[in-house]
Amino acid sequence: MSGHPSTYEPKYAPTKWLDKRLPIIRMGADFMTYPSPRNLNYWWTFGGILTLCLMTQIITGIILAMHYVPHVDLAFESVQRIKRDVPFGWLIQPMHAVGASMFFFAVYIHMFRGLYYGSYKAPREMVWLFGCVIYLIMMATGFLGYTLPWGQMSFWGATVITGFFGAVPVVGESLQQWLLGGFAVDNPTLNRFFALHYLLPFVIAALVGLHVWAMHHAGQNNPIGIEPKSKKDTLAFHPFYTVKDAFAVGVFLLVFAFFVFYQPDALGHADNYIEADPMKTPEHIVPEWYFLPFYAILRAVPDKLMGILLMVAAIAVLFILPWLDTSKVRSMRFRPVTRRWFILFVIACFILGWCGAGNPDDIAIPFGEDKGITFLLLARVATAFYFAFFLLILPIMGMIEKPKERPESITKAVLGGAE
């Protein structure tokens, strides 16, 4: 799996026997001795954190599936029963629900890190592409899972999102009803959403394997974006980065535990404690926080199909990012002008999230009475910037920006002149 010379020596007869037949211990050992750049900072710990998130979701999810009933008449009650009556259900259900938010929180940091340090550039395009696919399937899994408690937001969220497919010209309505298994979101929909929500995390796990494989094959990027040139530039993954990851995981779990034990509902919506009612739409349908920026992009255009296409494009543009950025310099540390654009890009993403939560016609930034910038206008500006960053700023800056002088090697950057 990792492309460095193996140093594993089986010591005992059984391990020697196994090593000749299936070198699985060797694979694990090579993983642990994998030479990692010696200058990785804490932003690099989110890969490990995300592995933990995926495992948490799979384990708590399998347990929840043992108690959950995927039927429109019973689903809502069964989730309440898990929280109230099932032993430790009060703990396991919020772990899964909060866990989804923590998973997205970690993945967004992981993605911004990749953007900032140019981890998508040659020869790591496949690492980035698999990451994009994983993110896409994560979004699908998150959406499907949110439908299962069958509250008002579950139902209407599912109605709105499956409505996207109805906007496809000509075949839209048939496609939508095929996905739903009926004329509207109903029992067949809930059933298949449950089946797919159970399946997709295992698909993600397989893709994570490919993501890590591609990363080990190309080598890890690092904060200065200069490839390791000698043995001095690297450290063994264990114990150096296992310990660093473990510390970061500990801090991350503190935040996780805070939400699970003190604010289990803070990241959800009160409306989801009302059982789904196809006759009544909630006042404001708002997706989970991690979809808000895309929701804002969707609503930034007054046309249904255009809104959807723009939202899809917002994710599709990530897939072609390695070929949009023309700069050979990976790390933003050496790109003074683009670095500022990147900071604006992060701010634009937060603004989009804020606009997604607001009502389009409401005033976001007031000046004077009744006047000001509406969420709609703000969302349009932020959407324009979001796309401009990928389609204009990155291609152009790579051609006109003069990067700062870069150190000769990782060791030089870390230790200066000292050897």
């Binding site: 209407w156 109605t159 709105v160 499956t162 409505g163 996207f164 109805g166 009803q177 095929w178 996905l179 298994g181 009926g182 004329f183 509207a184 979101v185 109903d186 067949p188 298949r192 196809p278 006759m279 009544k280 739409t281 909630p282 006042e283 404001h284 349908i285 609503r299 007054p302 046309d303 249904k304 199909l305 809104g307 009502n359 389009p360 016609d361």
Partner: protein, 190 residues
Amino acid sequence: MSDHTDNSHEHIDEDKRDFIYIATGAAAAVGAGALAWPLVMQMGKAADTLAAGSIEIDLSKISEGQQLKMLWRGKPVFVRHRTPAEISEAESVDIAQLKDPQTDDERLMPTPDGKLDPKYLVMVGVCTHFGCVPVGEQGKVDAQGEYGGWYCPCHGSHYDTSGRIRKGPAPTNLEIPAYTYISDTVIKVG
């Protein structure tokens, strides 16, 4: 596999091999397609979903200005008994300025004597944008949108007293379901 045979003198007919490759590939493709078809089609509407088709509504129970909401095929159906003011407003609109041009008459089904009764407007109560249920209950003027009909709270589509889209992102007017008058006061939807 165990016994070693010398194949060096054997004649290989390349054309025959190509034929076998193509024939095998074609048979496998047809087989895969034939298997994929039921696996894809099972996702569609089941027979019982299709059969749960129609409902009857007694119009005489709806008083003027009132709206009845009933569940039909998992979606709400609105029946509004419109006031004369609402009817005249719906009829006076210049349809050239509409996003989805339709006259009020085109949005009604004939009664048993072949005439149109503009008092009763029957619609699928699902916003044509992303499928939310628009609000428009009598007495809540601010809930009826800028055109006095219906307002979708999800993304701000305004419908007039004929259920036509007037403002906001929805692409088309509220859908009129297939319904027939089975007597002067009873309709059958579906």
